[in-house]
Amino acid sequence: MTAGAELDVSPPEVSVRIGARSGAILALASLAGLLLFAWPLLVPSPTGWAETQGAPVVFAALVPVIVVIVLSQLSDGGMDTRTLALLGVLTAINAALRPALGAGTAGIEFMFVLLILAGRAFGPGFGFVLGATSMATSALFTAGVGPWLPFQMLAAGWVGLGAGLLPGKARGRATVGHLAMLVGYGIAAAYLYGAIMNLWSWPTLTGIATADYGGPAGGLDYVPGAPWLDNLRRFGLYTLLTSTAGWDTGRAVSTSIGLVVLGRPILDVLHRAARRARLS
């Protein structure tokens, strides 16, 4: 983010720089995104709800705006062609990994392996953009574009962002402790990603119970205005029943196996590419 007039003579770096401005926007937008994911737990009382039955629809329209703003601010002046090309190629690999080995095979998903490693090697900004573009591209290929896509882009972006924000130095040969940290992060990210996407689909799929609506009395419905612990318990049961045993665990296991087997060599390859990009 240097002034446009100055000539930049430092060697090009493969990264998406997060300056003060874009960092502040990323933080605020992440907070807004978290709010848009977790709104079912935040409704304080049913009074405000009565007139806003359509909140999920409105939120599904808001998230794309926020994703577009964050991406346009992150890319503003901070990406050179090497970063663009590497992002493109890694996105393509991720998009290829997702439908080929992902959905439909009991949650075996290797997309997070490369996402976490690339976020680790190239920094948090790169990780965020890679997560978002990977989701967008794989949606274009499998034609999975829909209201869920912006939420997936945001959540996957956070996974890449978090990998870049992990402590320890990113350069050099990865130690065993370093790999163990990445594996731990991978498992946590796999479960959290599944849970937060479930939190988004929960009110839509089970239904929203209100006084004049009448959901099933004994269901796992979202009840607006109920104490948040109550809703959290119902949601926990819902996500446990629907996905934790299958999808999320499958994703966690395959991510950690991928990180253990391929973590070090892939990190080496990524570092080598970064070196080559600096030299060429």
Partner: protein, 434 residues
């Protein structure tokens, strides 16, 4: 079918508007006679109208954004009502338009997947009602044995009596959600994703470049994997992996070279992009960038407060003078969206690029968008009128038979019109589909 369409295009002298990679023969036609003959126009008014209609009907793909806006309108209407008759009509209209106006790209075949997904959601919603106690109302259809649960999950009921009312609740909701999913699928299969990428705003130029690179590199990955596998077969004839260690080495031997190969090609791609002026840094001034960041910050802030207020309802209405009352929440939404638009415009300020054969926005595009939003207008009109109850037929306490007010029927027919009033989709010749 293929021959007929191509012949028609070539006799009139236009083969324009196809997607990427059009056939060489069509391109010749385009060069030879870029405008349709005007002879007919002078002969008589009837002939002129007829030829105007013929030009209008020339096969071309509609602007992808037009299809998405059309679908957005239908989705909005579908989300505003639970009347199964309306949902069914909108579903039918979207399906009919897809069948008559999709071209033959790979994305066009995705409609079936969405239809399956929509049907699955419909069934799941009903099953959910049955499994988690569907005993609301008086008309009990059948009774399933109830499964006792431990006290940890108090409040959850498994199976038991199933009533018509609870199944109808599930069916209405499921049909609404299924309609929305199918309409999303309609937009997906009607609009080419590649051309949609091309119409991204300038602020997303870099992200758009990343996506285009990804879409282009994608097919090369398979070839790279095949090359690495072949090289490995040449080195060792039979790879017998017994232990876990050997097996992981085998995976590494495949994944690492493919990845290294792909990253190397990315570096050389970057060099050639540099040479052609792709992805260069925007020329926008510092002032523009600071303004863009500030408006982005304001936009996200406004939208966040709006979202929180939507579910909590704490912000008051403010009276401006004696007549106008503005709800602060709505003001925040408008401010947030305006700031977002301004920010996107500002950060795209310095980006200048030319386009090869840009998608045009003509009359059919406008008409299509208008047709998509007709159901929204009809739903709003019915909702404000005496028939408002028809939008969400009551199930409890009394079971209403859903009725269909005339405006909604008309609107559904209007939503169907793009299948007739838009030009047909170009049918590519065999080499263009590859």
């Amino acid at each position: 079918m293929v021959h007929r369409t191509v012949d028609r295009a070539s006799t009139i002298g236009l083969g324009e508007g196809s997607d990427e990679g059009s056939a060489p023969r069509r391109r010749e036609n385009l060069l030879a006679r870029p405008r349709p003959p005007k002879v007919a126009a002078v002969s008589s008014a009837v002939a002129s109208v007829r030829s105007g209609w013929a030009v209008y009907r020339l096969p071309r793909s509609l602007h992808p954004v037009a299809w998405w806006l059309w679908a957005l309108g239908i989705m909005t209407a579908a989300s505003l009502t639970t009347n199964p008759l309306v949902e069914g009509l909108l579903l039918a209209a979207a399906t009919f338009v897809v069948v008559s106006r999709r071209d033959d790209g790979p994305w066009a075949r995705s409609f079936r997947l969405y239809a399956i997904l929509g049907a699955a959601v419909f069934v799941v919603r009903i099953l959910y009602r049955i499994v988690f106690g569907g005993g609301d109302g008086d008309h009990v259809l059948f009774t399933l044995p109830r499964i006792p649960l431990p006290s940890v999950v108090a409040g959850v009921r498994l199976l038991g009596p199933v009533s018509l009312e609870s199944i109808l609740y599930g069916a209405y909701d499921g049909l609404q959600l299924g309609t929305i999913i199918v309409v999303v699928g309609a937009a997906n299969s009607l609009a080419s994703p590649r051309r949609l990428l091309r119409s991204l705003p300038a602020a997303l130029y870099e992200i758009g470049t990343v996506l285009v690179v990804a879409v282009t590199v994608f097919p090369q990955l398979a070839e790279s994997a095949a090359r690495v596998a072949r090289a490995r077969r040449l080195r060792q004839s039979s790879a017998q992996a017994r232990s876990w260690r050997e097996r992981s080495r085998l995976v590494r031997g495949l994944v690492v070279p493919v990845l290294a190969d792909a990253l190397d090609s990315a570096i050389s791609l970057a060099a050639s992009m540099d040479a052609r002026g792709f992805g260069r840094a925007p020329a926008g001034s510092r002032r523009h960038r600071v303004m863009a960041a500030l408006t982005a910050f304001a936009s996200v802030g406004c939208l966040m407060v709006f979202a929180y207020d939507l579910v909590s309802g704490t912000l008051p209405s403010v009276a401006l003078g004696s007549v106008v009352t503005v709800h602060l929440r709505d003001a925040l939404l408008v401010a947030g969206v305006l700031a977002a638009l301004l920010s996107i415009r500002l950060s795209g300020h310095g980006v200048r690029r030319s386009r090869y054969r840009p998608d045009r926005w003509l009359l059919p595009e406008l008409l299509t968008v208008a047709c998509g939003f007709a159901p929204v207008a009809a739903v709003a009109a019915v909702g404000a009128g005496p028939d408002a109850a028809a939008l969400s037929p009551a199930i409890l306490p009394t079971l209403d038979i859903p009725t269909l007010p005339l405006p909604l029927l008309v609107a559904a027919v209007v939503a169907l019109l793009p299948s007739a009033i838009t030009p047909p989709a170009p049918v590519a010749t065999s080499e263009a589909t590859a």
